[in-house]
């Protein structure tokens, strides 16, 4: 087969001028490397993001008061929303940063005042003990549920049920400890104390409820529940600009579109470097055509057809760009497995992390890109070479 011979010739030509071949490939190597690394890192961060979002209940609904307060919400009103339409549970939230004390230890943390049901809406698991009850809220019982960071900081251990902590001059008995959640998007989920809403209002000297949480009876009813809450809020405030009701589902969607826009954008930017690599191939192939004009003349004199010459140069370009693509992929694997895991943590800031994904689609895409670039940018020089008159090519010095 002539094709096999053409491949052999291409390899011979590439091997016989290693420096030129390397320079030709360099553009593609850099292009494929930046393409896979950029898209890989975006995909990696996306994965981290979706992983951390996946432990959020998609049917959670957040309601916030916005702008100038035209009305105030009360705990009772929020409680009354429970069971209305598709709304299941509701819970107000007020929070502030305060210092908690236990013996000689102090720790500054987020103190949250809410009601029973909040744990279910937010998907908070209790490792030991219990969460707030309705009577805790009604009777302003001085109880607290703590996150593991608070337990670690104040007691140096996690067996803290029954212990007493002091917040803003009031003693609270610990009745529960949350299960460890780790951090999400760089924020620790374990550094907080939950106390009854009614006590928090006094302690924070704040009676204004600026936000509350709710969930729908089932995941399919989220939209209906959002509507119910919106109707309530509109009646309450009289202005739809003064509040915002958003379901977690909507947040997830916004995130997802953001992420795919990002991927598209980075892919686009990286494609430009691939394109530049392709133009590099074309330049060197053009130089190579004029450098090898005499060779082309000799080949034609002894009987090479135009197609033979064309195939020789196109295959050379394709093999070069494919090899460049493979080397680029090899280097991006080095980035993925050697460089990124060894970036010092101090460079990435607290809780920062960098993950890169090498997916099958990126792999095949960059290889396909290399081949296409080889064909596109190899064709013009090949056409030029094949069109030379044998005698003119032979006379070329």
């Amino acid at each position: 087969m002539k094709i096999i011979q053409a491949f052999k010739m291409a390899f011979k030509a590439i091997a016989s001028n290693k420096m030129r071949s390397f320079l030709t490939m360099l553009g593609i190597i850099i292009g494929v490397l930046s393409f896979t690394v950029m898209v890989g890192i975006v995909q990696g961060s996306t994965q981290t993001l979706t992983d951390s979002m996946s432990n959020l209940d998609p049917n959670m609904i957040t309601t916030r008061m916005m702008g100038r307060r035209t009305a105030t919400l009360t705990m009772e009103e929020i409680e009354d929303l429970r069971g209305k339409g598709s709304v299941n549970l509701t819970a107000p939230l007020i929070s502030t940063t305060l210092t908690a004390k236990a013996g000689v230890n102090t720790h500054s943390t987020t103190v949250e005042g809410t009601t029973d049901g909040y744990d279910q809406i937010r998907g908070l698991e209790i490792a030991e003990g219990r969460f707030l009850t309705e009577s805790d809220v009604q009777n302003r019982t001085s109880v607290a549920i703590v996150g593991v960071t608070v337990a670690d900081e104040l007691f140096g251990q996690r067996d803290v049920i029954g212990e007493t902590i002091n917040i803003d001059g009031r003693k609270y008995q610990i009745v529960g400890i949350f299960a460890e959640k780790g951090s999400s998007m760089g924020v620790s989920q374990d550094d907080h104390i939950v106390i009854p809403f009614t006590l928090a209002q006094r302690t924070f000297r704040n009676t204004n409820i600026s936000q509350f949480y709710a969930n729908a009876t089932t995941e399919n009813d989220v939209a209906a529940a959002v509507e119910t809450i919106e109707a309530f809020m509109l009646e309450k405030t009289g202005n739809e600009d003064h509040f915002n009701v958003q379901s977690q589902e909507a947040t997830l969607e916004t995130m997802n579109t953001m992420v795919s826009t990002m991927t598209l954008l980075t892919g686009f930017i990286a494609s430009i470097s691939l394109l530049v690599g392709g133009i590099g191939i074309m330049n060197i192939m053009l130089v190579s055509v004029s450098e090898r004009t005499r060779e082309i003349g000799i080949r034609k004199a002894i009987g090479a057809q135009r197609l033979d010459i064309m195939l020789q140069f196109i295959i050379e370009a394709v093999v070069l760009s494919l090899m460049g693509g493979l080397i680029g992929l090899g280097l991006s694997a080095v980035v993925r497995y050697v460089v990124i895991p060894n970036i010092p943590a101090s460079l990435m800031g607290e809780n920062g992390s960098l993950t890169m994904v090498i997916s099958g689609s990126v792999l095949t895409m960059s290889l396909m890109f290399s081949v296409v670039i080889g064909v596109i940018f190899g064709t013009y020089p090949a056409l030029k070479a094949s069109k030379l008159l044998p005698i003119e090519a032979l006379r070329y010095e």
């Binding site: 011979k12 060779e295 034609k300 002894i302 009987g303 090479a304 033979d308 005698i391």
Partner: protein, 232 residues
Amino acid sequence: MIELKQISKRYQMGGDIIHALDHVDLTVQDREFVAIIGPSGSGKSTLMNIVGCLDYADEGEYFLDGEDVSELSSRELARIRNKKIGFVFQQFNLLGKLTAYENVELPLIYQGISMSERRELTEQALERVGLKDRMKHKPKELSGGQQQRVAIARALSTRPTLILADEPTGNLDSKSGYDIMQMLHELHQQGNSIMLITHDEKVSMEAQRRLAIYDGKVFPVEADLPEEVLNA
């Protein structure tokens, strides 16, 4: 058989028109050994390039084995160069990156014949020029005479009927030149037509028939030559 009828080739050099070939009539029979002799710039290479289908004439007709060459496509011309004609150039024109074996094999690759057949023909051709033991060498590892022998092996590997040799001994010492001429004689005896181009009177004497070329015009040597040709 080669038949040139009123072939002309002109080059424009600034304001001047150079008649590289000026209404040339020439017939070379099958199995004939013809020498074309002429001084530098007389149009010898131009003639060979047209006969070898490497170049087109501006005027006139060229029949190769009865076929009108001017009617052929570039594809068919390539096939003629590949199958019917073997070229031997003054500057050898080997591919420097290929070994002797690969150089000789190249025209066979373009014929698209099988690898085993190629090996046989290539080795035979190298054997005939006495370079079978050097087939792994690159041109720059060979002497000028050896390189020209590789070029001859390449020319005859496809068993062409016509050998075109443009100053094949021009770049060689007399001993190597003698060897090359012996090879051309051998090829002639085996039935090839040979067109030998030279500016060397002594070399041209080896041919059956001699033609002189001067200022793009061809004359039989026996005829009355212009003074300048005889003195050139």
